[in-house]
Symmetry: C2
Subunit: 640 residues, 2 copies
Amino acid sequence: MTMPNGYSGKILRVDLTRLSSEVEEPGEIFYRRYWGGKGFAGHLLLKEQSAGTDPLSPDNLLILATGVMTGSNLPAMPRFTVCSRSPLTGCFGESEAGGWWGPELKFAGFDAVVVKGCAERPVYLWIRDGQVEIRDASRIWGLDTVDAQDAIREELGDRRIRVAAIGPAGERLVRYACILNEGKHANGRNGMGAVMGSKRLKAIAVRGTKPPKPFDPEEVHRLARWYAAEYLNNPTTRILYEAGTPGLLSGLQASGMLPTRNFRSGSFEGAESIGWDAYRQEIFAGPRGCFGCPIRCKREARVEGRYTIDPRYGGPEYETLGAFGSACAVSDLRAIAKANEMCNRFGLDTISTGITIAFAMECFENGLLGIEELDGIELRFGNADAMLAMVERIARREGIGDLLAEGSARAAAQIGRGADRFAMQVKGQELPLHEPRGKPAVGLGYAVSDIGADHLLAVHDPGLQMRESAILKVMAPLGVLEPIDTLDLGPRKVRAFYYAESIFAFWKAAGVCNFGYAPRVAIPFEKFISMARAVTGWDTDLFEISKVGERAINMSHAFNLREGIRRRDDRLPERFFEPLPDGRLQGTALSRQEYEEAVTLLYQMKGWDPTTGFPTRGKLAELDLDWVADLLCSAGVTAW
Amino acid sequence: MTMPNGYSGKILRVDLTRLSSEVEEPGEIFYRRYWGGKGFAGHLLLKEQSAGTDPLSPDNLLILATGVMTGSNLPAMPRFTVCSRSPLTGCFGESEAGGWWGPELKFAGFDAVVVKGCAERPVYLWIRDGQVEIRDASRIWGLDTVDAQDAIREELGDRRIRVAAIGPAGERLVRYACILNEGKHANGRNGMGAVMGSKRLKAIAVRGTKPPKPFDPEEVHRLARWYAAEYLNNPTTRILYEAGTPGLLSGLQASGMLPTRNFRSGSFEGAESIGWDAYRQEIFAGPRGCFGCPIRCKREARVEGRYTIDPRYGGPEYETLGAFGSACAVSDLRAIAKANEMCNRFGLDTISTGITIAFAMECFENGLLGIEELDGIELRFGNADAMLAMVERIARREGIGDLLAEGSARAAAQIGRGADRFAMQVKGQELPLHEPRGKPAVGLGYAVSDIGADHLLAVHDPGLQMRESAILKVMAPLGVLEPIDTLDLGPRKVRAFYYAESIFAFWKAAGVCNFGYAPRVAIPFEKFISMARAVTGWDTDLFEISKVGERAINMSHAFNLREGIRRRDDRLPERFFEPLPDGRLQGTALSRQEYEEAVTLLYQMKGWDPTTGFPTRGKLAELDLDWVADLLCSAGVTAW
């Protein structure tokens, strides 16, 4: 059966301990209240999982959820989310990916897959048009991600099967192991691959032939044509089309905010060697994209010789160029491309891997890690081969890799002697490659993020975007009517962040790529609302959408409260309150007072107590989350 | 000059002490941030007026403000608001009216008139196409409202002039004196007529020939045609068209919630004699309406004989039928029509007048007022002639009328001996004719209203409306997806109230009549948004609109905080916690616990401290009202 409104209406439940499955149909209001992704997962993780569940135990639910918009015939809506309690942060865990897997799951008749328990021996799931099979994975356990994918396709005799798989890193429970589909679309962050590994679940293979019908196919078609005619006229979408995210690197270097040497500096002397011009000339092999998206922001790379890479694993994106390039002070683009290939092969998050290695480099240079502890490797900034050796060790948990596989926060605690000052992490997750001193709203986002430091929380910096009047116009329906200075972190910036955060949380729930629709891309909200209406048939609008986003945020926040997370955990590394030593922003630091005030204001805007972080019962009721208030109350983490 | 987006861009400032005027042009962002009416007024009253200003002193600003939509060629957008510190409540004062005056002011080139000071001798303002004249009113001082209007028209030699005037009650500073245009469109509540009287301002006459152009005239035309084709298919709009508000009375009686004998009961034995069937047969003389509105919900009445009325003053609406009818236990429709005519003639609010008399009746029947104190009048429930005698005495402040002209709260304090238990008022303003025990959300609205008991705060009862699936569909874009029981006052009802309250505050700011657009009328929000866009050219939506409404509410709330108003003042009369003695709802009472919890939840939803009512700085910043936070801080009424 295909539903006439963008979703299949069915959620697949799999119990790997019992090797059983069932199908749940939660009804239309559930879909409209939560929209998918983080929304579904927040609901399930709060209702069905106890506080204190070990992230790597069978009791931890692993939820792979599309959104109501995922897989519609509109551009840039390929995304799905994996959620669980994170083994990296101990918080609500969440990681989105594009590619083809999400749409394929929906075409196979399911909006989400919820996995609990743990198989006795390695297995994979085979989902095909409403049916599921739990199959033996002994033969593919141990394989790299694309090899596993190919083996499954071969075993099932269908090249068009989409596979989300873990690699050796997930099998070995590296705390920031990821899940990959097509070898290059990663649910990268929060160690969702380790959760999958802990369940002995190597992969989920899907094949579907029945896309849900949109409510109004003609309108969907019309809007898709509008988008296709528009996206190259828009500067941001055009850059993404032409250069992908690597196109952003040179601008950040010029602005003095390219994270360099583990965020010690914002200016990298080797930036030119790793920017888009070099990339295009030296390693670019063509654009790649996701289901239904004309932007095709992903890059394929080709490298031969010393750092030969397997092109099936794609080329590095901006975050990876930053993490293995400027942050490790490596200016050899081929070595970075190799690190990227290895991460995708082994199933490692490139950001956490790169920043954990940068952390180790700084520890080494400061005498906190000796060469004997580093298995004889001279792990200096700029040493590309040492860096690559570390990637492999981490994936296999060999030698020092076993410590670094725990992430920078745990490693720092183990090393001691003040090593934590070199761990560029929030709530245990390593920072993406955006310099808070140059984009203070991103810093605010890192700090308050429910999933640890994350750069997909809101507009990268509402102020940054405000300089363009076209973008200001896009933000106007949110009531943001005047430009805000980029370096400002005052009340108006916090307000813009708060509004944008809800919308971004909605994109994540609904399966929408923020590259295709976020304010800075200057696609009017009005157009997106028309799209949402055409797909779902619901008379929705920006008000409802914003509340859906805020609802998802409050559910993950409640999850964290139940796990003991408090405002004190919304803590940026000290480094960002010290001035940048060089580059265009030389001398710029975050003001601690302004930053603390910003967090307080944001909490108040959210209806959260600024000391404890407890939401008021009224705020939860306003989001139709009375049940969360009751749950927090009985968990004893609030006092109403 | 006419502006291409629904407003003239000019605000007229008049100083009656100095007999001077000036024109202010606050710029487009001001208009988009506040939209008009209460939004403009909140901004001005907070920024320009000191706390503790005597409402009847020259320093109290009197603001007459249209909204951005007022006078557009769309149906049901004729409204303007008068704001000031209220002499009845001491709170933020606000009262809207329909008719023609608002559109005419805008056509004359002004979006608002702000009056300060006090003239030495009576004056009126004459505003014509961008010019203003302060004219001597000695000749018309003392005249009834329509006589004053006619005298001005004659003096200026133009029958098409629109006049907002006070009558003898406003001149004598009756605390609930109102302002009338066309003798039947009242800015009824909060005593705005007394403020006008205190300034010796008899009237404001306007004539304009230059309507602002809408941004997209063709779209406005198309939407107006859509409305014209639609409104008779809609049950609520159709009732208003056919029977006006008097059509509501019989349903309320049948439901057991027709306020009777000063709210002692919800069932009136004489209901049939004062309902729409009797009205139509006995006194109805035709429908009347407001600028540009096809609904024409106003009634003209004709009565000859003992209670002969001047038809220029219109016929009673539902509130007046209730106030002088069931609340005073008067079942003679002609006497009620006469009371209505007298109120409109003298410039008295029919609700406060009727309920203050009902209060006095109950005092008399309980021995708290003796016949000698009542000037020899036997003021029993049901005594129509006694009631009419009181109306006249109040308007002229003669005998007992001088006490009752102070309103029921002040009169009760004067009478003492527990008379306050018979004063059906909140914050000093008498209750409209809606029984909180039958519509608990209306009761909640009465209690928390910034302007004292008011029935235009939100949907009359979201629950009541939820029974119709069409209405539920209209509320869905606000995320209200499921029906809520009418008598419920739990979290889901409070949430629906909170959302609707913001939208209703927006209607008031923008100049829109809630009869024409409110959710219960089942005009989809989407259509209204299209209208707002077509008029203004702004890419607005429900999100922004809701914030505009919430912004206005927070400004008036801040005004009240500065005047010492606290949550303890959000207090319903005790009567409503006692069971109704008869009728369909016999035995029904509000639960005090549920009610207190509802207020707490609502405060929390609003981001206000549930004990003090102070908004958080973050909440104010979220509404772009940092300046209000600073202002409250320096007024010492918050502790951040």
